[in-house]
């Protein structure tokens, strides 16, 4: 009796000891990331919120408590509201177009008679290019308003259309063309890869079974098998793309940035991040800037929640 009991306790202590050792190893391995995320993501939320309750102009310190005045100011700031409206319109446009084009290219590449790998590489390569460099190509080489711009050359040689000032015109809003195509070029390849991967996961037998059932055309197979089975990929692509679009900055800064004294164009196509950059970095209104940032974060949150509600959410088995 006594012997068994003591053996039991030794086992229990050994067990306890091992568990404690595992816990130490766990924290040793996870600790750096958790502490880092706490400090660089949660502290800015807390500290930034405190700053947003202060005037804090020209200083990042808590200077002159103003309550919610910064929130009131930014929410009644016409330019900020305009930028929110603009980014909503822009997202409503860019997200479906990106989705459709990347799905289209994925289907085309997967069904290519030859050169699958080559086409995939070509569509994927722009993903490596930065927004700054793409902005440079778009603004100076393709959509330069002068006749030497590639787009103007093309419309001249094909249809003898006079050069268009792509970035400088307000009506019709040609700058939309510039901003949408640059984002498409940079992003489509990435989402195409996701779709191709999703398509490769669909068991071949499903297509065979459908063919036995008389489904002949590729379109029928796509509509009844490929598209429904890509549901999870689709939701993921839409969600990521939307969150990205709401945080657009670099291509706007680099394509429209320098023209903003000239035409007031930027006030027409200015995303909220660029406006906050001007408020916080140029004017150094940190209190207003942080308030605006939190409102934007909140909006992105709400939009993603609404979107995942509409699409039924991720994770359901297909």
């Amino acid at each position: 009796m006594a012997i068994t009991a003591s053996a039991g306790t030794t086992a229990a202590t050994a067990n306890k000891k091992r568990r404690r050792k595992d816990a130490i190893i766990f924290w040793f391995m996870v600790g750096p990331v958790v502490l880092g995320l706490l400090f660089f993501i949660f502290t800015p939320i807390v500290w930034g919120f405190l700053v947003s309750l202060h005037k804090s102009r020209g200083t990042v310190n808590l200077e002159e408590y103003v309550g919610l005045a910064n929130y009131y100011n930014i929410l009644t700031d016409e330019d900020y509201l305009k930028s929110l409206l603009f980014i909503t319109q822009f997202s409503l446009f860019i997200v479906p177009v990106t989705y459709a084009l990347s799905l289209f290219l994925a289907v085309m590449v997967q069904n290519a008679a030859w050169g699958k790998g080559v086409f995939r590489t070509i569509f994927f390569m722009p993903t490596a290019i930065s927004y700054v460099i793409a902005a440079m190509i778009w603004r100076m080489a393709i959509f330069s308003g002068l006749p030497y711009g590639f787009a103007n050359w093309i419309i001249w040689v094909t249809a003898e259309i006079e050069p268009i000032a792509w970035i400088g015109t307000i009506r019709p809003p040609w700058h939309y063309m510039v901003l949408v195509t640059v984002r498409l070029w940079l992003q489509v390849g990435f989402y195409m890869i996701l779709f191709i991967a999703g398509m490769q996961d669909i068991p071949q037998e499903m297509y065979e079974a459908a063919r036995v059932d008389g489904a002949e055309s590729k379109w029928t197979l796509f509509r009844h098998i490929t598209f429904p089975l890509l549901r999870n990929t689709s939701i993921f692509v839409l969600l990521v793309n939307l969150v990205h679009a709401f945080q657009a900055f670099a291509e706007f800064y680099n394509i429209l940035g320098a023209t903003w004294t000239a035409g007031g164009l930027l006030s027409l196509a200015r995303p909220p991040l660029l406006y906050l950059y001007q408020v916080a970095m140029n004017q150094q209104f940190y209190g207003t800037g942080t308030a605006g940032a939190f409102i934007l974060v909140l909006i992105i949150f709400v939009v993603t929640v609404i979107q995942s509600r509409l699409t039924g959410g991720l994770g359901k088995e297909v």
Partner: protein
């Protein structure tokens, strides 16, 4: 469907693919072409497909320009990207393994914490983050440019997903040999994780090299400009020197283009993993 129709159909598809491929290659072609032309040729009204005399000296000239610190920009970007990748991937890989494998009572709570941070839209948070970084005096410093980027919830989660399927047999074998969990990670799990390390590592490298907003905000002094900020200053300059701007942009794109080209198989797998599995 008749055979001719099918043939016609696939030929048409192939043509559409070629059309899009050309469309996608045009920007890269223009980038290279313009970087090898003179200012006059770029702005000429008559279109030329390729410069008659390729202006290779555009590149050395670029580095001689005292107003745009190109070489320094390259150096800064290389340092930031390298350190970010090495530290971030090490930390995420280790944390991901622990979250997947090391038994701990509150492991799930920690995982939830990581996932919640992943939901915070980081770019949109740049003002609050800047305010904190400025408060601790890290503007215009290496640590300000690098440290906030080395803790990554997304990669940690990706590594966790990867290690979830790490074979338990190997783990048991390690335990029999008297290894603790860190030993198992170091000796057994890590050597088997190279594909995902390469995949996530190269994506991290490209993101770090291409980053614009954070380096713009934190590296304000000219000596702190990264390659992207450098290229951007060509666009915001009073007088744009076109051939230099394109040469700079091409050089800035080259390292990541080569990396993507060489490692595309791994990178594609990495992206795939990030999507839907798990």
């Amino acid at each position: 469907m008749s055979r001719t129709f099918r043939l016609l159909n696939s030929t048409l598809s192939q043509f559409i693919l070629i059309f899009f491929a050309i469309l996608f290659l045009i920007p890269l072609y223009l980038l290279l072409r313009n970087s090898l032309m003179t200012e006059l040729e770029i702005t000429a009204w008559d279109w030329v497909f390729w410069p008659e005399v390729t202006q290779w000296q555009n590149y050395p000239e670029l580095f001689a320009d005292p107003f745009v610190p190109m070489l320094n920009g390259f150096k800064n970007s290389a340092i930031i990207a390298t350190v970010t990748v090495v530290v971030q991937i090490s930390l995420s890989c280790m944390a991901g393994y622990a979250l997947a494998r090391v038994p701990f009572k509150y492991s799930n709570i920690v995982l939830w914490f990581v996932l919640i941070t992943f939901l915070v839209p980081l770019q949109a948070m740049f003002v609050p983050q800047f305010v904190l970084i400025a408060k601790i005096g890290w503007v215009n410093t290496w640590q300000g440019l690098i440290v906030p980027g080395v803790f990554n919830a997304f990669n940690t989660f990706m590594f966790r997903q990867y290690f979830l399927s790490f074979p338990a047999d190997l783990e048991d074998a390690g335990k029999v040999d008297g290894l603790n969990y860190f030993g198992i990670f170091w000796r057994l799990a890590l050597p088997n994780a190279w594909p995902i390390i390469i995949a996530l590592g190269s994506l991290t490298l490209v993101n770090s090299w291409n980053a614009f907003l954070w380096p713009l905000v934190i590296g304000q002094g000219r000596e702190w400009w990264t390659i992207q900020v450098n290229i951007s200053t060509f666009l915001t300059a009073q007088v744009v020197v076109l051939h230099s701007a394109f040469a700079a942009a091409f050089l800035g794109a080259l390292p990541v283009l080569v990396l993507f080209f060489v490692l595309q198989r791994y990178i594609a797998q990495g992206i795939t993993r990030s999507g839907i599995k798990g």
